[in-house]
């Protein structure tokens, strides 16, 4: 029985002890289409994906591939039956070649049983040609490839099984704008050949660029599916969250006048990384740093925080010259930094929420003695959990068990909690679901309203335009322009970031 759907899931239910991760979820994907799967953290996207790729077995419901009901006994079985998957964390072996990775465990062999290298190279080249990369030598070691190309290798690995359906999990989280364009082109090459792509992403704007249809999940349930051209972002957001998020970025209360300049940078430079960087941030102001990946924004932020050196220029905090040479010194003078990559650089994943919340100011919990008073840390943690609405049953839960949005809230609570004069936040909503995003924006606004200066480094243009008072656009290590956000446009920012327009400075 031929079906119009390449892949169909009906009434999938998956329960773990104590929680129903999926409750009667449906999914319908046609051949040759890009089908997006969206939902907040905890909505069930991962579980559904893991069920479709054979890693989990559904408790109820059925899966049909090409109209035929199938049962996957293992991921290898799912691959054989036509489901390919590319995880966010690549599963390549860096020290092996492209060919060896693509045909991992399935290398063509000659009569003796040894790997038939010429055939392996040829088959790999054919696959590379699909994505116009046939100039790449199949024997190239994967570790020498840039991340975006490694991802292509991972896709080829999945494609080499000739799947009818390819699942892509958050494929753009580490890519530059150009690389994303290439990825989309590759996806269209695949769909032109009749392969259906299931595209899972937090970046809602991408859905509108690449997807044909979308399924929305919420709390483990199927909410609806729709054709992308019939809907808009508000539709997605309100269905994902279950309520309309009006005015996500909030507005600075006009009654809160901006205060004096709290932080000033003059001619900051470090050889080969950034130069001549100068800007001001006033009390109550949120200044965003926009720019392409690699423009030097994080480097400037870390340099101000003392995590990286500053070779030239000077900085003033509340009018006094400062030069923090380590994060320790920066924290002591009132500068905080919420790092870009919370998992590897910001949080102690195995430690409790409580241990994370106090990490940057242990001194405050000693009451004058050399010993830490755990009652003080406990009180502080409980207060932060309730003030910041961190979803965790208690303060002892290891932070790795929290969702991305809540992990980010823990990080935010940790840094806002030291009462910084200047807080640098680097990509605060990366990998964070829509509900938590708006909460973080509220936190940042409140911090600024309390008189702090906030430096927001972000690659999310709508976030930059919606949240900031002024926007510093960086390009190749220099300040390309400083815009007032009330008059700035996305095109204007991109133009500066990509170098088309020179020096539009705000007077």
């Amino acid at each position: 029985m031929k079906s119009e759907y390449a892949l169909e899931a009906r009434g999938i239910t998956k329960t773990f002890p104590g929680v129903r991760a999926l409750d009667g979820v449906d999914l319908r994907v046609r051949g040759g289409e890009v089908h997006a799967l969206v939902g907040e953290n905890g909505a069930g996207k991962s579980t559904l994906m893991l069920t479709l790729s054979g890693i989990y077995k559904p408790d109820e419901g059925e899966i049909l591939v090409g109209g035929e009901p199938v049962v996957f006994t293992s991921p290898e079985d799912a691959a054989k039956k036509g489901i390919g998957i590319v995880f966010q964390e690549l599963s390549l072996v860096p020290s092996l070649s492209i060919a060896e990775n693509v045909f991992a465990n399935r290398q063509p062999v000659d009569r003796i049983g040894f790997v038939d290298r010429p055939v392996l190279r040829k088959k790999t080249s054919e696959l590379l040609a699909l994505f116009e990369l046939d100039s790449l030598d199949p024997d190239t070691l994967v570790r020498s490839l840039p991340l975006a190309q490694q991802q292509v290798v991972e896709i080829l690995k999945a494609i080499s099984h000739n799947p009818g359906v390819l699942i892509l999990d958050e494929p753009t989280s580490s890519l530059t704008e150009n690389e994303i364009k290439d990825l989309f082109r590759n996806i269209r090459t695949l769909t032109a050949r009749g392969i259906a792509c299931i595209y899972i992403s937090h970046h809602l704007n991408e859905i509108f660029d690449i997807a044909d249809t979308v399924t929305i999940l919420r709390d483990g349930r199927f909410v609806c599916d729709a054709r992308v051209k019939d809907i808009d972002e508000d539709f997605l957001v309100s269905n994902m969250v279950g309520r309309t998020i009006v005015d996500m970025y909030g507005m600075r209360n006009p009654a809160d006048k901006l205060g004096d300049v709290r932080f000033e940078a003059r001619g900051l430079g470090r050889e080969g990384v950034f130069s001549g960087v100068g800007f001001t941030v006033r009390a109550g102001e949120i200044v965003a740093f926009a720019g392409l990946v690699g423009a030097g924004r994080t480097e400037v932020g870390r340099a101000i925080f003392g995590a990286e050196p500053v070779e030239s220029g000077e900085m003033l905090l509340d009018g006094m010259k400062v030069n923090p040479r380590s994060p320790r010194e920066a924290i002591a003078i009132g500068i905080g930094y919420l790092s870009e990559d919370r998992k590897s650089q910001g949080l102690f994943l195995d430690f409790s929420v409580r241990a994370n919340l106090v990490a940057n100011h242990l001194d405050d919990f000693c009451a004058g003695s050399p010993f830490i008073r755990e009652t003080l840390t406990g009180d502080w943690a409980n207060k932060a959990i309730s003030d910041y609405r961190i979803a965790t049953p208690d303060a002892e839960r290891p932070v790795k068990n929290l969702s991305g949005g809540n992990q980010q809230k823990v990080l935010a609570a940790e840094w806002i909690g030291i009462g910084p004069k200047l807080l640098i936040v680097d990509e605060p909503t990366r990998g964070v679901d829509v509900g938590a995003k708006s909460e973080i924006y509220v936190l940042l606004r409140k911090l600024a309203a309390g008189g702090a200066a906030v430096m927001l480094i972000s690659s999310d243009l709508s976030e930059v335009l919606g949240l900031a008072d002024r926007i510093v656009v960086m390009k190749s290590g220099a300040v390309a322009g400083i815009l007032d956000s009330s008059s700035a446009t996305e095109e204007g920012v991109i133009a500066l970031a990509a170098g088309a327009v020179q020096g539009a400075y705000l007077s």
Partner: protein, 309 residues
């Protein structure tokens, strides 16, 4: 957890052998583990911060040899001991500098130190044991306070102070953060390089203390002193709850780990088991301890992950 195992063996042995619960046996047991227990105090802090020192056995031998040589050439006891301790700390500084400032892997660095300082020991002692040390020096390791020998007391004091400091002081709490996520620790304002360096210096110093105590107890500096000691110390610390990545472990746990190994060895001896089985059993104990720890964690993780979904 490990406390239960230790208590269990204790109780079992009390019934299994009439000699077990005797004063002589128990004191001998504690005396035997005192050297490694002293080193384990500092090694726990080091491993909690993610570090690792394979050279402690050689440090024990070298400090012993140097102190003994000084004593034989007429140095008074106190300066000789101070020099010995300083050397231990200096070797720790050497290790720490290479690991934290030059960024060379701890395993490779301390493995080299193991050979470097064992070699220096042989050179200093000219391949012979240095015996006939002055009585005033031997008093350190050979006196008794009541029925308890001094090495046991020294170990006890260091263990108790060490446990309190590591468990509760703000300063050493930083070691846990460094072991948990070094990059995040740095960004949280923790002086990572300084703490790591200090961890190695302390380990060297405590190895020096152990070296002096051992030399004075034996009344001689043996050129093979401390051989294999590093493995026993690290085993004890791991049984006590530390992991190689860092971020967990306690001094009390390390002591219990040491006690467990000593109890097992003691049990095997009292039960008449062939002495050659002892090394085998120690290896088995470590494996079992780590497996129990791992399964306990996996089970905890599964229930926790699910209830927060």
């Amino acid at each position: 957890m490990i406390f239960l195992i230790v208590s269990g063996i204790f109780i079992a042995m009390t019934f299994a052998s009439p000699y077990f619960l005797s004063e002589g046996n128990l004191l001998a047991l504690l005396l035997g583990l005192s050297i490694e227990a002293i080193i384990a105090v500092a090694m726990t802090n080091l491993m909690v911060s993610g570090g690792f020192d394979m050279s402690v056995g050689s440090i024990v031998a070298f400090t012993g040899a140097v102190t003994a040589t000084l004593l034989k050439s007429g140095f008074p006891v106190v300066p000789a001991v101070v020099v010995g301790l300083a050397i231990g700390a200096a070797i720790g500084l050497f290790n720490g500098f290479i690991v934290s400032k030059l960024g060379i892997n701890a395993f490779v660095t301390t493995l080299s130190s193991l050979s470097l300082f064992r070699g220096l020991t042989l050179i200093v002692s000219r391949g012979q044991n240095i015996a006939n040390l002055p009585d005033s020096f031997k008093a350190i390791g050979q006196t008794k306070l009541g029925i308890v020998q001094t090495p046991i007391l020294i170990a006890a004091i260091l263990i108790i102070c060490g446990d309190i400091l590591l468990r509760r002081s703000r300063f050493f709490r930083q070691s846990y953060y460094i072991g948990g996520n070094e990059k995040a620790a740095r960004l949280s304002g923790i002086p990572v390089d300084r703490m790591k360096l200090l961890g190695y210096v302390l380990t060297g110093l405590f190895a020096g203390i152990a070296g002096i105590v051992m030399t004075s107890r034996l009344g001689a500096a043996s050129m093979t002193a401390g051989t294999g000691l590093e493995l026993r110390v690290i085993t004890a610390v791991i049984i006590g709850g530390a992991s190689l990545q860092g971020g967990e472990g306690t001094v009390l746990g390390a002591f219990l780990g040491s006690l467990l190994m000593a109890l097992i060895t003691n049990a095997l001896t009292l039960l008449g088991v062939d002495v050659y089985w002892q090394t085998f059993v120690i290896g088995g104990t470590l494996l079992v301890a780590v497996l129990i720890d791992r399964f306990g964690k996996l089970r905890k993780e599964r229930t926790v992950k699910v209830t927060t979904k």
